[in-house]
Amino acid sequence: MSILIKGGRIIDPANGIDDTLDLLIQDGRITQVGKNLDGKGAEVIDAAGLLVTPGLIDMHVHLRDPGQEYKEDIVSGTRAAVAGGFTSVACMPNTNPINDNKAVTRYIIEKAKAEGTANVFPIGSITKGLKGETLSEMGDLKDAGCIALSDDGKPVSDGEIMRRALEYAKPFGLPLISHAEDLSLVGEGVMNYGFVATELGLKGIPWVAEDAATARDVLLAEFTGARLHVAHVSTKGSVEIVRAAKKRGVKVTCEATPHHFTLTEDAVRGYDTNAKMNPPLRGAEDVAALRQGLADGTVDAIATDHAPHHIDEKNVEFNVALNGIVGLETALPLSLALVRDGVLALGDMVAKLTTAPARILGIPRGTLSVGAVADVTLIDPELKWTVEAAKLQSKSKNTPFNGWNVQGAAVRTIVGGKVVYQR
């Protein structure tokens, strides 16, 4: 079975390609990239006017499987992924049971292989039960297929445990993904600390709760020489901390979510629980700093923190609503908006959704090199559409972008040489 993608604008940051070319897929692999390819017998896809990119990679999703399948599962989550143009997702371990052992890792991998439409790369927990007390069996987790470690959703509050986790993980080559949050400074906060919280009478989460934790983890990475990736950076200060650390040669990378670089705390007005997430939506200065960080390379990757929640968990008073929003199906147009806004060149935007997460996670994806697995996304960058929460592939509909008129969408998503999504 072969597919010939003809006449698209191929953007392959790993190989420095941005050109109108054809791409041939045979037996699940990319076999040729060039002009006027003749793939006889191949199914031909006319990609004129489309972008042809490596399959997008979301390095931060919650698939809720096992344990909270009423919110999402591996089937619905990967369906949402490919609808958003993502061919690979890395899923966080805060499932039930928690992915802190090889049995859960294997379950995820096997179910994804049998029933999923996208590649699923599990992230194991740093500590047993996400309790922040004792290290998970990282060797087991790696052998079972975990590609990174994180207690995402919770910080590793104890400095000693985080230090030892970095030291222990280092020889395995697994990056630690930090959910940087000083819980004592978060207190009972439910949105960003600032003027909007004052007006709404809601308790605030100050930026220093994130920055202090980011600084500690970056310093621990510097101290141990281990690799650290900072998840969902949302503040100006955290961007600056990572930027300075990179200059010193610390092995640190970080990601930003589309909602944090698109929305401000103003979205909370009206007590919209779909604007409630952790870290919270911040101020305009923070959004500007994130965009600057994306532009200058401080922010390596774009990741969604796709966090499905049932309507019953959102249709409640603001202070008791759960944190998080779904992101897989809105990330691409929001990222393309960065290109239109002049924040990122198109190739750099694609890199932050492909080569960068592949490099950080050490997975053999994110490129259109000959011989690579044929994960390919075809994007119509001009397509205008309206986000309709009810029509999302995800089981959950918790998006603050409902009703938004956006531009750009995946029109075909190819995983391992098979078209798994077509718009």
Partner: protein, 310 residues
């Protein structure tokens, strides 16, 4: 002019004209409260549900009396007796009450925004009787009525509000309402109790209480709630009383004819000394009396308001 609001969710939504209409209406209804037969048939046949998710004696009683004096049928539902303790959602509670066809729901809730949530999901009018640290509009309106009675005007007066501003819905509602009426609002409290950006809402922020009180026309003390704020925001109540308590010496810094207000209940000896609370400048009980008139006015105006507007 007519009143166009279906709901009373906060003073933020009210215009100067709205506020004047409410105060004038309350002024004319106030007389009913001193009649021998304290009842008029104005709201006969209307059903008012007082839905209280948070303990409140005076506000609930005040709304209940206000409804009854206007001949409405008032029903009290409190958190301890409603099914909220069994985990029913606010939406389900709202739908159930809705099904019983009330005309007005008066709601008190510990979550900021809860009355807004209710108003979006229900057909009848919603009056916010206090939501979290957000707004408490009827309190602010009764404060204005009391000030107007004692001072004969509102415009140009200086009010000092002292206490935990961060967690005070009274402070926010007063601030919105008073600035709209052309009053100068000074806010004062410990550094741990001053919310960010509050000056952008038109307040002048003070850290020294003497400065805040100096030459003020009105001094309003807020209740310090030990159970909520005592943990990390204050060293001791002794020091709080010394720095932010209203005693006769400090009151002497205000204008000689300044009035003293407090939304209650009082922590005597903490934010206010008994000499001041019971002194001749205190109008605290006038506030309570005016509370009934203001709530009568709100019920009356909302019951007659257009249903299409929120």
């Amino acid at each position: 002019m007519s009143f166009r609001h279906k709901h009373i969710l906060g003073t933020e939504q009210l215009s100067k004209e709205d506020i004047e209409l409410i105060l004038d209406t309350a002024e004319s209804l106030r007389e009913i409260n001193s009649r021998e037969i304290k009842k008029v048939p104005t709201l006969r046949g209307k059903t008012i549900v007082n839905l209280f998710y948070e303990a409140s004696t005076r506000t609930r009683t005040s709304f209940e009396i206000a409804g009854k004096r206007l001949s409405a049928d008032t029903i009290n539902m409190t958190a301890s007796t409603s099914s909220v303790t069994k985990g029913e959602t606010l939406e389900d509670t709202a739908k159930n009450i809705q099904a019983m066809k009330p005309d007005i729901i008066v709601m008190r809730h510990s979550a900021s925004g809860a009355p807004h949530y209710l108003a979006e999901r229900i057909h009848c009018s919603v009056i916010n009787a206090g939501d979290g640290a957000h707004e408490h509009p009827s309190q602010a309106l009764l404060d204005l009525l009391t000030i107007r009675q004692h001072k004969g005007r509102l415009e140009g007066l200086t009010v000092a509000i002292v206490g935990d501003i961060t967690h005070s819905r009274v402070a926010r509602s007063d601030l919105y309402a008073m600035t709209k009426m052309g009053m100068k609002v000074r806010l004062c409290g410990p550094g741990t109790m001053m919310p960010p950006g509050i000056e952008r809402l038109g307040a002048e922020v003070f850290t020294d209480m003497d400065d805040a009180v100096r030459d003020a026309d009105v001094v309003m003390m807020l209740r310090i709630q030990l159970e909520r704020q005592g943990k990390t925001l204050l060293p001791t109540l002794r020091e709080y009383a010394r720095l932010y308590g209203l005693n006769p010496a400090r009151l002497a810094l205000a204008k000689p004819d300044a009035i003293v207000m407090h939304p209650g209940p009082l922590n005597r000896g903490v934010e206010i000394s008994s000499y001041v609370a019971d002194g001749k400048q205190s109008v605290i009980l006038d506030q309570v009396e005016n509370g009934v008139a203001i709530r009568m006015a709100l019920l009356y105006l909302v019951a007659g308001g257009e249903a299409s507007e929120s």
